[in-house]
Amino acid sequence: MTAISQDTMGRYGAMAARARSEQMAFWCIGPAVFLIVVTTVVPFATVLAFSFTDYQLGDAGLNWVGLANFSKALGDPQVRQAVTNTFLFAGMVVPTTVVLALFFALLVNSRTVTRRFYELVFFLPITATMPVMSLVWSFILHDRIGPIARLLQYFELPAIGFFSDPDFALGSIALIAIWQHTCFCFIIFLAGLTTIPKEMYEAAALDGADRGWEKFRRITWPQLAPTTLVAALLTTIRTFQVFELVVVLTSGGPAGRSQVILYKTYLEAFSYLRIGYGSALTLIFVAMVCAISLVQFRIARRQQAA
């Protein structure tokens, strides 16, 4: 190649470079494309196909059952309960998480000397190995011997069966999920707050808006609203995916009161090996997540356009 003089390069040179680029690209993307097809595209297509069959692992054959799995799922009281609980759970966790994270981000953002300290402390739960920390929480909220139970006892308040009382189980898990997710939103908010130009506050101060609440209402909140939306949507997706907490703490009990869609799907698919039915439940879960993702995507597009 290097022997060819500059003037003969011309068209043939360009074509050779083009061919070389194609060839290089082929080797570069080959492994990734192969793996994406094998680990994501084909499995996803298979889930779609399975959901219309009655396949069970170990069976010799399978039958096409049309939409039977989906109609069964819609009529299954346990599935309904799991879906309802998942929404209920998100309803408890998402607003609380966002409000707490915003509140603490505002407070920490106005600190100067102690800011680093608070940042570190509030960031810490992001490192949490959740299956293990769930175990820790199970002792902290233990209804007889845990420190919280002792505290209630000390103040002569009635004992609470955090994980055994049907009315509390889902709420207790939510309490831990809030702990888990608040730091993530906190990080997003803190990043969002640092992008607000200082001049805006100075200008507002000239207009007489120098009190905390006025500043928040007129500058911080309008500037932070898009961030808030992103934080809320991401947290919603994460809460829809709640799994470890349920596995470790309640196994969906008592009486299915903390059953959620992903754990129900896990039981049907991987414990009872009802692949067809499990696939249909998987798709219900995917629909829930995708609906939120779609909203997020549209908002991102709109913000980019603006």
Binding site: A25, W27, T39, F44, Y154, V230, Y266, T282
Partner: protein, 276 residues
């Protein structure tokens, strides 16, 4: 905000400290309980501060009488191999998307973005069936293979490499550097910051994962720490909280230390998951 007066500041610190307690209490309780004798943990006279220490017993118990070292080794091995594979597959692909022209580039990019929207739980079932048919459940292969490629890594690295100057690549080509050489000697070193940020995200995600190990692993010999600790719990009863919390501390600590050492990178790596 406080215009020099002390009262609001103290009030703010008071409110913040409630958040501080909520944030660190589980870690605090875990570590304290791992240091004291099991009975002492639930003695109401010494709820927050131990009266009877039992550090050596708890930690030796956790490390010597249970397969915890094995779990940790499994975790390190699985996370390490996953990370290496992800970088090895994603970096060339990202380079091609960002810097090479080839037929189907737009289609590939679109496919990658679509795959990003599919949660892992959606493909777990066929992967499980496939591995079961091939008799590969309960193997490192089963733990690692589904994560050998990360579409997230591809998009992130491609985004990063778009900022890399074309002139340098052209100049290297004119100097006779092969395409392989460009990838290995120019692109890899240049991508280090992005790779570091991704590495943190990847290791944290797989070190903390319970879902997939729970599905494909039933043999304790192969269990990563998250699954192993659960085995450990079901064997032991409540009077073994000391060793159990020691095990929990050992499993949780690597990420905490990692976090304290490289906080900015860590936060960057985690916030990137905002994309996913």
């Amino acid at each position: 905000m406080n215009r020099g007066s002390l009262k609001p500041v103290i009030f703010e610190h008071a409110v913040l400290s409630i958040g501080v307690v909520y944030s660190i209490f589980p870690f605090f309780w875990m570590i304290i309980t791992s240091l004291r004798s099991s009975g002492d943990a639930f003695n109401s006279d010494s709820l927050l501060w131990p009266t009877k220490w039992d550090v050596v017993y708890n930690y030796t118990q956790a490390l010597l009488t249970t397969p915890l070292p094995r779990f940790l080794a499994n975790g390190v091995f699985v996370c390490g191999v996953i990370l290496l594979l992800q970088i090895a597959t994603a970096l060339p692909c990202a380079y091609a998307i960002a810097k090479l022209s080839f037929r189907g580039r737009t289609f590939l990019t679109a496919t990658v973005i679509c795959c990003l929207a599919i949660p892992f739980q959606a493909v777990a079932l066929p992967l499980f069936v496939g591995l079961a048919q091939l008799d590969l459940l309960n193997s490192y292969f089963a733990l690692i293979s589904p994560f050998a490629v990360s579409v997230f890594a591809i998009l992130m690295l491609a985004q990063y490499l778009r900022g890399y100057p074309d002139e340098i690549i052209e100049a290297a080509r004119l100097d006779g550097l092969s395409e392989k050489g460009i990838l290995w000697r120019l692109i890899l070193p240049a991508s280090k910051p992005a790779i570091a940020a991704f590495a943190i995200f990847s290791v944290a995600a797989h070190w903390n994962d319970l879902y997939w190990p729970l599905i494909v692993v039933t043999e304790p010999d192969l269990a990563p720490p998250t699954l192993g600790v659960l085995f450990f719990r079901s064997e032991e009863s409540g009077d073994q909280t000391g060793p159990l919390m020691a095990a929990a501390t050992i499993v949780t600590l690597p990420l905490v230390v990692f976090f304290l050492a490289a906080q900015r990178r860590f936060v960057q790596g985690i916030t990137m998951t905002g994309v996913k």
